[in-house]
């Protein structure tokens, strides 16, 4: 899944390395329909009457894929007509063949056709089979399934909306599983808009401050929302102060760590120095308070620093004393020696 530009840099795209379950469905990124020519203009003559009933019933609810998910797939999955994998495959197909939005009658019938095929014989719900069936007529859904879809129960749909948040195949949220959905992106019905107009993000680099705002505003009248707080100095100062409040670097603040050498002989040739570290910092939320003592080696510190550099390369990370103070050490040693000799010559 990683970059096709195959960067050597281990940090490149590190945040997105997790494998995606349904890569094909993620970004139906292009605006133009890809398969207009292969989609018959009107298939309503080829569908069972139940399709028409279901469409009449659900049309207002299925304006987006999430509606389709909530009102069609979730009930079918819940009732065991489909597995969630089958549902996701069908959504993939709908995206791939530009059968969106689902409240267009043709698109909706395609979806139902795929569902009917899939319920009939698992694995047969593919686009080619569907096109083939269009010639003779699309298969019916099992009566129970059709009844389920037209069943008039607002209660159900509320529950289903709840279900939806769990296995809703939003192109952004499936990929960025930890992302917060309560922002502007997710409220847009068509999520792929965001990717289709990438220029609204801007791509300012830290090294090129001058390009920055222009890059951000390449497409000023596109989806960039008004910058709500751009001139709200109070809001911005508070934001800055909140960030600053998190960091109190004063040395004499409470919770100082102390460190002592514990010489320890291990092996015949080398003497390792251990460091006894003690402190009373309440670090873990529910861990025991009070005095904590650990023993660490210099190499442990090196490992810790290397870990932090890998995980937090864009933060200020304190440095370790060097492994050897070569220059300084020899210099100061000679200086001590010379001072000492100087004093002895005096006496």
């Amino acid at each position: 899944m990683n970059s096709i530009y195959g960067s050597e840099n281990p940090f490149e795209n590190g945040w997105a390395t997790s494998e995606l379950d349904h890569p094909a469905q993620q970004f139906p990124a292009v605006d133009q329909p890809f398969s207009v020519s292969t989609t018959p203009s009107d298939i309503s003559a080829k569908v069972p009457s139940q399709y028409l009933a279901i469409f009449a019933k659900l049309e207002p609810h299925v304006t987006s894929v999430s509606g389709l998910q909530a009102y069609v797939f979730s009930p079918l999955v819940t009732e065991g007509f489909l597995t969630s994998y089958q549902a996701s495959k069908i959504i993939d197909i709908l995206y791939d063949h530009d059968l969106m939005p689902p409240d267009v009658q043709n698109n909706f019938f395609h979806a139902l056709g795929l569902i009917a095929l899939e319920i009939g014989t698992a694995g047969s719900g593919d686009y080619v089979t569907l096109q083939f069936k269009l010639n003779s007529g699309l298969p019916s859904l099992p009566v129970a399934a059709a009844n389920l879809l037209v069943a008039d129960s607002t209660e159900d749909t509320k529950i289903l909306q709840g279900v939806q948040t769990h296995d809703f195949f939003d192109p952004l949220s499936t990929q960025l599983s930890n992302s917060k959905l309560d922002d502007d992106f997710s409220t847009k019905p068509a999520h792929w808009d965001v990717e289709a107009k990438p220029s609204t993000f801007g791509s300012p680099n830290l090294e090129s401050p001058n390009h920055d705002q222009t890059a951000l505003l390449i497409d000023p009248d596109a989806t960039v929302p008004e910058s709500i707080h751009a001139n709200d100095i109070e809001y911005l100062s508070k934001h800055i102060m909140d960030i600053r409040d998190r960091f109190k670097p004063s040395v004499d603040a409470q919770h100082k760590i102390t460190i002592k050498e514990v010489p320890e002989k291990e092996g015949l040739l080398f003497k390792h120095i251990n460091y006894a570290i003690s402190h009373e910092i309440p670090l873990s939320v529910n861990g025991p308070g009070g005095l904590k003592k650990v023993v660490r080696r210099y190499s442990d510190f090196v490992w810790l620093l290397e870990f932090l550099l890998k995980k937090y390369p864009f933060r200020v990370i304190p440095g370790l004393p060097p492994k050897k103070f070569t220059g300084m050490f020899i210099h100061s040693f000679f200086k001590t020696f010379l001072d000492w000799r100087h004093l002895h010559l005096l006496s």
């Binding site: 760590i257 210099y298 864009f314 005096l346």
Partner: protein, 343 residues
């Protein structure tokens, strides 16, 4: 004499290089460096919450064996995170320019600042060394004055006064002089103790604060270096490629050629992949910016470390000078009143 010194030197050099004794200067530097590292680490609001840091500071097990059974995730902190629109829409438009300018200026002048502050640290160090030397000289004073007092009897006989006319004439004055000399010794002794205490405080406390600020400057320098190295992306190239492929796609789909199907699928896949890649890179770029922005804003707090170091310095110096003044005052009273200037 010279050769014996060289021998001493080579012996101590050897012990220092092979198995450093715990109080060697090298180990002291390292211990203090580690001490500063840990104390800076636990001040950082994000790093102090990192589970590995918590483990490092709390799990009593030997770390080597702990590492063997632990699953350690080395991936970047933003993994799976999406930039908040509030940052893009509100914070950045208002402060982005200012921040980028500040960041750049700081990056440009930080080496100079580090150089200057390092010199200040060296001056503090030198001051501390000089105090030590004065203290050492003070004990030399004590030694020499005592020796002088022991010897002055031979020049100004005054101790045995029975039937000694000259001695008797000296008795009061020379004794008074010797007593005063011993007061002066006493003063030098006390001053020496004071100087050594002062030097110790500077060395262990005040100097560490000055170095603590140096460490902060170096850490920021390293952040500048890393972000320069690691925040590269291929967004412009991707954008270009997507544009080209979309144009090709459009021109092919308007053709009527038979083999366009597979070619279209292939192109579409490439475009989809590129867009996905670009979205990821843009998101990451924003997250990096947000992170650096936060770090830079937080770093502003380190200015108080300058105050802390100098406030400690002043307080310490004042206390010392106050005590020192007291010693001088007492000595002055004794000497001016009790040291005879004439018979």
């Amino acid at each position: 004499m010279r050769s014996s010194h060289l021998k001493d030197l080579s012996v101590s050099l050897l012990t220092n290089l092979v198995g450093a004794s715990p109080d060697s200067q090298f180990l002291q530097r390292r211990r203090r460096g580690l001490h500063r590292f840990l104390n800076q680490l636990v001040k950082h609001p994000v790093l102090k919450q990192e589970p590995i840091v918590v483990t490092f500071l709390t799990v009593p097990t030997d770390l080597v064996s702990w590492k063997k059974q632990a699953r350690i995730d080395y991936s970047l902190e933003f993994k799976g995170e999406k930039i908040l629109t509030d940052f893009i829409n509100s914070i950045w438009p208002a402060v982005g320019d200012e921040f980028l300018r500040d960041w750049r200026n700081a990056e440009l002048s930080l080496p100079k600042l580090i150089d200057v502050w390092t010199k200040i640290v060296m001056l503090v160090e030198r001051h501390e060394k000089r105090q030590q030397q004065v203290a050492f000289d003070n004990s030399k004073f004590v030694e020499m004055i005592t020796r002088f007092s022991d010897l002055d009897e031979t020049l100004y006989p005054h101790k045995i006064t029975d039937n000694k006319i000259i001695s008797a004439s000296n008795s009061n004055d020379t004794s008074a002089i010797n007593e005063s000399l011993s007061s002066i010794s006493g003063f030098f002794n006390k001053a020496s103790t004071l100087l050594i205490d002062e030097s110790y405080i500077i060395n262990t406390d005040i100097l560490e604060k000055f170095k603590n600020f140096s460490d902060c400057l170096y850490s920021l320098q390293e952040l500048f270096d890393r972000s320069k190295r690691l925040s590269v992306n291929t967004i412009p190239q991707l954008q270009q490629r997507i544009k080209e492929n979309e144009e090709r796609h459009n021109s092919i789909s308007s053709d009527d050629a038979d083999l366009k199907g597979s070619e279209l699928v292939r192109l579409r896949q490439i475009i989809v992949n590129d867009k996905q890649e670009m979205f990821q890179q843009l998101n990451k770029d924003w997250l990096i910016k947000k992170c650096c922005f936060e770090e830079f804003v937080m770093f502003q707090e380190t200015q108080f470390l300058i105050s802390e170091a100098w406030a400690d310095w002043c307080r310490g110096r004042f206390k010392f000078q106050d005590k020192f003044y007291g010693l001088h005052e007492a000595l002055n009273e004794v000497i001016t009143s009790e040291m005879p200037l004439q018979r």
